[in-house]
Symmetry: none
Subunit: 402 residues, 2 copies
Amino acid sequence: MAVTLPDDVVLERGGRIVLVVMDGLGGLPHAEHGRTELEAARTPNLDALARRAALGLHIPVEHGIAPGSGPGHLALFGYDPLRYDIGRGVLSALGVGFALEPGDIAIRLNFATLDAAGRVVDRRAGRPSDAENRRLIERLRSGVAAPRGVRVFFEPEKEHRAVLVLRGDGLLPEVTDTDPQAEGVPPLVSEAKVDGARATASALNAVLGEARRVLAGEPAANALLARGIDAYARLPSFGERFHLRAQAIARYPMYNGVARLVGMDARPLSATDADSVGVLEAGFTEYAFHFIHFKAIDSRGEDGDFAAKVAAIEAVDALMPRIVSLAPDVLLVTGDHSTPATWRAHSWHPVPILIASRWCRGSADAVFGERSCLAGELGVFPAVRIMSLALAHAGRLAKYGA
Amino acid sequence: MAVTLPDDVVLERGGRIVLVVMDGLGGLPHAEHGRTELEAARTPNLDALARRAALGLHIPVEHGIAPGSGPGHLALFGYDPLRYDIGRGVLSALGVGFALEPGDIAIRLNFATLDAAGRVVDRRAGRPSDAENRRLIERLRSGVAAPRGVRVFFEPEKEHRAVLVLRGDGLLPEVTDTDPQAEGVPPLVSEAKVDGARATASALNAVLGEARRVLAGEPAANALLARGIDAYARLPSFGERFHLRAQAIARYPMYNGVARLVGMDARPLSATDADSVGVLEAGFTEYAFHFIHFKAIDSRGEDGDFAAKVAAIEAVDALMPRIVSLAPDVLLVTGDHSTPATWRAHSWHPVPILIASRWCRGSADAVFGERSCLAGELGVFPAVRIMSLALAHAGRLAKYGA
């Protein structure tokens, strides 16, 4: 699936495209009434769109694979996540707006709580507030001594999440995580997976040791766990591949990060979903492609709260008239993966998608729901093909072959 | 399709999986009533499962390709048969329990009847009984002189089928078959496809010449035809790839052979299908993955006997309650390929599959049949992805990417 478009078919101009991502949209049936979250939600605006749209279900990565947010969005943007296997550290660093340079090693951190014996008792340090996170990061910035020849950057993300960037000659990302992904055991020591990465493992272990020294008096966040370790390398950009000037509108850094990785302009984080729509409205004529991200649906799925996920879907539906009234040539609505409330996590289930444009066959009795989409004209297909369909419906693809 | 799962997503533990293979399950409509064999069969137990399952159709190898049993089962087990192109000889040798060593050349044999002019008049020598097969093999074992530097092993299979293994330094599998796949013509002479395989072709021709000398007086089985010639090389095992301890339950050596190739424990051949279910019941808690194979459906399809194929499907349906009552976390029912009674052979038609688990969207009006499966949530998809779905539904796959 790595090559999604033949050479030389992407045109320089064409219609305007809006991609609405309802994070974690897909679901599973409720035990009592048998409807999924999306099927149970009252979504008059999405249903009206569905009647004049092409419907289908996309498989984010591969059959059976539950993607994280990074791979899920890369696929939506037309980048095969199995080819572009990008560590969470890089995505997080981009997400917080850190100016990564080629060769930087970016690492996702959790603040964690260790007990007196050095065992992890809370992998998220009681979920500190964002303000508390920033205070802890300041302590680290002023207290941690950098290993010789390495520059060290700490950046706060949200709650217990932070980012570490190591910059220096010859650093390699082939080192193991220190996050044991379990509680009741001590953090792991990072090890080189290849000979050339020994200095990197050693630098990382030194920085994490320094961090424990600096954080020793903290009641909750007295250690760091490292994972998602990767080096930054630029991807072929959205502009290069699709000839699209694109903007990303989101409320959480992660989504801006993955958008920036493919060369979109990431707008300042919005405070509310309604504000996000305002940013879309304000910049609508400036960009040919707009990615707008709505997060709450996924969060309520992860909470296992079916009714709250339904409500979160309805809240996005209520914002749709503002988006529809902008009259984009192509309006796509989908999720980056499913997050069924019964499963309480990202899942592998195919995700409903709607592509509204003048150029659909459509179905007069369609609604926007998993089983209605299963009968749709797009079938069940890989997410990495969505961008090709978006471009095609926007009149942005030339005929392939004379 | 070679890589079916990203690195590091397969968990060490999770739910129990049962894969029921109804060999040759898929069919074509009857000329009079328009229903396929599976649609015509009374299958209340499979239909009840279908209502709480994910349904779809799988393409065993590629569009239009009718697979043999080996490729068909490899694909079901998650091994792309176009990547792991394993000769029938190797599958047969494993199937009869022969202890192949790396480098062994395994060859599928038919006992055949030649006329006085040396032309094949029956490619199956009148289908000798198994006892007769064993008597013939004993004659070959005691009568055939091995070529210099080569050890020769003959093994009986069923009816007209046998296995020849050549063991020696420098033998290569790149030699042509001697089975002309037609009657009225003489057997072919094996030829080397590459320079280095000349000694192997010569050894094979010598052994087959010896066999004709030894069998010269036989009324029916007076020659051997060789095909499916391959060298034995171990595959990455089911345990290594999927962290599953697996057992195979079958009545015919071939199916045990392909299961053993991927590292399953092959149980002693069962005498009846009901006995096979008994083996499943007895070993249910010992294994995390169970492959149970039902053969008769395919055989009746090859006979061209629509009604008998329907009855064979109904016989398996009648066994399903015993399997369902074991309450596996994931129960898959499918075939390795289609064998429509009207076609009288393996065919390329997509094969119905059901995956019953707690984690399906499901459809209240579903039944288990080709056209009902076509409306199912799995869509039409490659068989090599089935194992990913089985693992996902068993909770055995971690999220891919943070």
